[in-house]
């Protein structure tokens, strides 16, 4: 039966590689070429990158008769730079030509012109002046160019490659950059691509910043979804103003495309990028100038690497805050602090207030003149986070206060060295406030002008809760109502993390014995995005709770975790909810659900896609950052790395909540919310879910979860 070879038609083959072509879905497409094309771009982000071969001096000379093209200077992702002479003016200029592929985008010319006009207004001694821009026509399409001031000197990259710059030199360079950036920021222009290649130093030591706004123009700043074919090219290289195309010291061994100077939000939330991204990048440059290295993932203060004034740590680390709101609000502030260092030698400033940071543990030390939070022994804290929607409800023992153990909490008041100590009875973790009725201390309240937009929504506070009040700037108040949010983790580390987008006034307070005690003006001693006070570990808490409950009841016995399911949640297409059946660990798409809320409820009922909320759906926002919209899950943040420490009993017991609290919530976990959460569905399915973070290509969020099962079940 298999001998019908004679009837086999001769298959067409691929004109490129000779592989026989298949039929069916692949009709007309060569599978080998298809596979090759899929594998050829070594990463998704490199896809479609069109290599740019800079024109030769001769080619350019033909295109620019008014110029005498003197020499090729360098090439970067955003074009090639040549030294040229304007014949009429007899002026030496730098000519930058942009990669021709840019011109493929129909709207590029218009955007280019718009951007260039804005840049032409940046007349500042610290900014490379733009003389002229436009495009010349060549057979292959328009060639866009920029004619600008020629800086006779070196760029910072070249300077760095000669070795570490002395702190003194760095301190001379950074304020100049600050000035230039502030000038641009005042005019609403963000550079977006600050890096050593773009920082030019002329023969007199004057610093000039080059390539303002170009990153945005060519989509080279991590903005996703840019329509340019070449826009996927990462920040592999930029305009290397005067850099020779020689080897680049810091590039050695580095993966190309690492966004080394890019602020986190530039890749994570490109639409939110503002001038503070430049501050971050400047922080990286500063760090590199001081240490000769780029900041590692585990950020170490420069003073731990090299012998420098430890106060520089403060400045560099603040610029390098992951969260823009914790960086300097303006680059001029950074300049002021840098200059302050020069004016006040270390010895003088370290006398007052004992603020000099120890080398061993710089992050644990407070900023000068600022109050520190201390914990003496342990703080029995359970926390809650609302607003962003991660909830932790604490089990409320009915006989609260009946126990004798005490925990001491010490809060250091500001501007004084005195400590106040409060005692918190164990397990008196009470839900103190449920409504808007927050009895906030006066100094925690925002300025009157903010008050009208202040909105505090049903934020239950517990003893031990800390409050990070965040009040947004007036100008943003209308669109981004401020929140007071509370975040405490059960694993005993109290993290005062960034909670809102733009906080100018941050105050902390702590709730003890039902009273909010403020620590006014404790500006955060936050370094590296967190602020932690060591405390009891969660299992101690939970073990004690278990004992306390004296729970011999079968409800809490014989529990175990089911299998761990690891998944990636991606955005669903066209706002179409796709549900994860928690029990099966599989996606449920059928029958298709309506997106309209009310019809959706009906649909859930009629299809028994149950109201118990055993399903979570990927966020349907279509936003660039993958969002996970958990549906009908009640979540409790138990801090990172709690996955293995949580026992089934903990996960189960934790949710012994009064019924009225067990309502369903929507929770949005953005990529940044990696962490471990306990959850409970409406139908009392309990479990632990861990958000592991985004996939490398940012197309989804990786999670894993496990359900609490009764041992008696199969």
């Amino acid at each position: 039966m298999s001998n019908q070879a004679s009837t086999v038609p001769t298959n067409p083959t691929c004109p490129d590689c000779g592989t026989p072509l298949a039929s069916g879905a692949l009709a007309g497409i060569c599978p080998a070429c298809l596979l090759k094309s899929g594998a050829s771009a070594d990463s998704v982000t490199q896809a479609g990158r069109i290599p740019f071969i800079p024109p030769t001096v001769e080619e350019l000379a033909a295109l620019f008769p008014a110029l005498e093209i003197l020499e090729f200077i360098g090439k970067g992702g955003m074009g090639a730079v040549y030294k040229a002479r304007q014949r009429q003016l007899d002026r030496i200029v730098a000519l930058k030509v942009l990669p021709p592929a840019l011109g493929d985008d129909a709207t590029f010319a218009e955007r280019f012109a718009r951007e260039a006009r804005a840049l032409a207004k940046l007349n500042h001694p610290g900014i490379v002046t733009l003389y002229e821009f436009g495009h010349v026509t060549q057979p292959t399409g328009p060639l866009f160019y920029i004619l600008m001031e020629f800086v006779d000197g070196v760029n910072l990259r070249q300077l760095l490659s000669g070795g570490r710059i002395s702190p003194r030199e760095a301190l001379a360079i950074v304020p100049q950059i600050c000035d230039a950036l502030q000038f641009a920021h005042d005019r609403g222009i963000v550079h977006r691509d600050i890096k050593p290649e773009n920082l030019l130093i002329d023969r007199r030591g004057a610093v000039k910043v080059a390539d303002f706004g170009l990153a945005k123009l060519v989509g080279n700043d991590g903005r996703a979804g840019s329509p340019l074919p070449a826009a996927d090219s990462p920040v592999e290289s930029g305009a290397q103003e005067t850099s020779r195309p020689t080897n680049d010291l810091t590039d050695a061994g580095k993966v190309m495309g690492t966004p080394r100077y890019m602020a986190p939000e530039q890749s994570e939330r490109p639409s939110e990028v503002d001038h503070r991204a430049d501050i971050y990048a400047l922080g990286v440059v500063f760090y590199q100038m001081l240490t000769g290295e780029l900041p590692a993932k585990e950020l170490r203060p420069p003073s731990t690497k090299v012998q420098i004034d430890v106060r520089l740590d403060e400045i560099v680390l603040r610029a390098l805050e992951r969260n823009p709101s914790q960086r300097y609000a303006a680059v001029s502030e950074m300049k002021t602090e840098v200059e302050m260092l020069e004016k006040e030698p270390l010895e003088a400033s370290s006398k007052d207030s004992g603020s000099t940071r120890t080398m061993e543990n710089p992050a644990a030390e407070a900023k000068p003149d600022q109050t520190r939070f201390h914990t003496s022994t342990a703080i029995r804290v359970f926390g809650i986070t609302m607003g962003a929607a991660i909830f932790l409800w604490l089990f409320l023992p009915k006989n609260d206060g009946s126990r004798g153990q005490q925990t001491n909490v010490a809060v250091a008041a500001p501007q004084t060295s005195s400590k106040k100590t409060f005692t918190v009875p164990d397990f008196q973790i009470r839900r103190v406030l449920t409504d808007l009725d927050l009895d906030l201390p006066a100094d925690l309240l925002p300025e009157p002008r903010y008050q009208q937009v202040l909105k505090v929504e049903r934020t239950p506070l517990l003893d031990g809760s800390a409050i990070a009040g965040a009040f947004v700037e007036e100008s943003r108040g209308k669109t981004n109502p401020p929140n007071i949010r509370v975040k405490l983790t059960v694993d005993g580390s109290r993290k005062f993390q960034e909670i809102t987008r733009t906080n100018l006034n941050r105050r902390l307070a702590i709730m003890v014995n039902g009273k909010i005690l403020s620590a006014p003006n404790i500006t955060e001693e936050i370094k590296g995005g967190g602020f932690q006070i060591p405390g009891p570990r969660v299992e101690e808490e939970m073990d004690a709770l278990l004992k306390h409950l004296n729970s011999g009841s079968s409800e809490f016995s014989n529990l175990r975790f089911g299998k761990t399911n690891s998944l990636t949640i991606t955005n669903s297409p066209r706002n179409q909810p796709v549900f994860l059946s928690l029990e099966w660990g599989l996606w449920v798409t059928n029958p298709p659900a309506p997106t309209h809320t009310r019809r959706f409820q009906d649909w859930r009922r009629s299809n028994n896609v149950d109201l118990a909320g055993r399903y979570i759906e990927p966020g349907s926002s279509g936003a660039n950052i993958p969002m996970v919209l958990t549906f009908s899950l009640t979540l409790a943040d138990i801090g990172k790395d709690s996955w293995d420490r949580i026992t089934p009993e903990m996960a189960r017991l934790h949710w012994n909540l009064p019924d009225e609290l067990a309502e369903s919530m929507n929770a949005i976990m953005a990529t940044g919310s990696a962490g471990t959460y306990l959850f409970r569905t409406e139908r009392d399915v309990f479990g632990v879910i861990e958000v592991l973070g985004a996939t490398p290509d940012d197309s989804g969020v990786r999670i894993r979860y496990k359900l609490v099962e009764h041992g008696s079940q199969p």
Partner: protein, 251 residues
């Protein structure tokens, strides 16, 4: 299509349709209990995609059309049985390798046509159309060694699935026509026509075509990687697996 860079990224990024966002083979393996519903569903899904390479392999090993059908069905039935997956040995990491090894073992040791018949007269766990299977096999016939042919057909099955997914996404977004005109650009072969031709056919600008092609290719790569990852225990081996599949086409 809006080309403005000011557009919110969401507006210009193709919607993502990863309904199988988890790695199916991982689900199968991780379940540990092959009888569990999620493992069975995931395994079935995999088998539905990759039945043809197996069937063709069986044919190449000299089985008649009817026997190949029965054998393939019996093999899948066996595969879906409890306990069978526990035999997955060193090949656990890759579904492709696992399946081929298991099939070889099955052909060598277990399969017995008479027994299969006894066990239920040809259980058909897969909706396998004999006519289609046969013609597809004949069309795909070549002189390659069976293992090599298996890999090649596997790659084709995988690519087909990717292209179908890609097309489905485009259709869902009302861009079916666009897909049909632009799919040739998924490969960068010399045989491909120019962007200008496609632009003319679609009645749009060449620049717009380039952008659309760029997006399509990008999405294609994502889907391809995803689909490859579906057959692996760990996503980290995607590149190696892609290289292996590509190797099946080398001369």
């Amino acid at each position: 299509m809006d080309h403005s860079p000011e557009t919110h990224p969401a507006d210009s990024t193709p919607a993502r349709a990863d309904t199988f966002a988890t790695t199916r083979w991982t689900v199968v393996l991780a379940a540990g209990r092959p009888g569990s519903p999620q493992a069975a569903m995931a395994l079935e899904e995999l088998c539905r995609t990759y039945w043809f390479p197996l069937y063709a392999y069986v044919r190449r090993r000299g089985q008649t059309r009817e026997d190949a059908e029965d054998l393939t069905q019996a093999f899948f039935a066996r595969l879906l049985e409890k306990g069978f997956l526990e035999s997955a040995g060193a090949e656990r990491g890759r579904f492709r390798a696992f399946l081929l090894t298991a099939l070889k073992r099955f052909m060598a040791n277990e399969w017995d046509r008479s027994r299969t018949l006894k066990r239920g007269g040809g259980a058909t766990p897969l909706p396998l159309d004999p006519q289609q299977a046969d013609s597809q096999f004949l069309a795909a016939s070549n002189d390659l060694p069976p293992d090599r042919a298996f890999d090649r057909e596997w790659a084709v099955a995988l690519l087909e699935r990717v292209v179908i997914r890609l097309r489905d996404e485009c259709v869902a977004e009302g861009r079916a026509g666009q897909f049909d005109h632009l799919k040739i650009f998924l490969t960068s072969g010399k045989g491909a026509s120019s962007h200008a031709d496609a632009a003319a056919a679609l009645g749009t600008e060449e620049g717009a075509v380039r952008v659309a092609v760029h997006r399509l290719r990008k999405r294609y790569r994502q889907l391809l990687r995803d689909e490859v990852a579906q057959t692996l225990a760990q996503g980290a081996y995607v590149d190696a697996e892609m290289a292996a599949l590509f190797g099946a086409f080398s001369k």
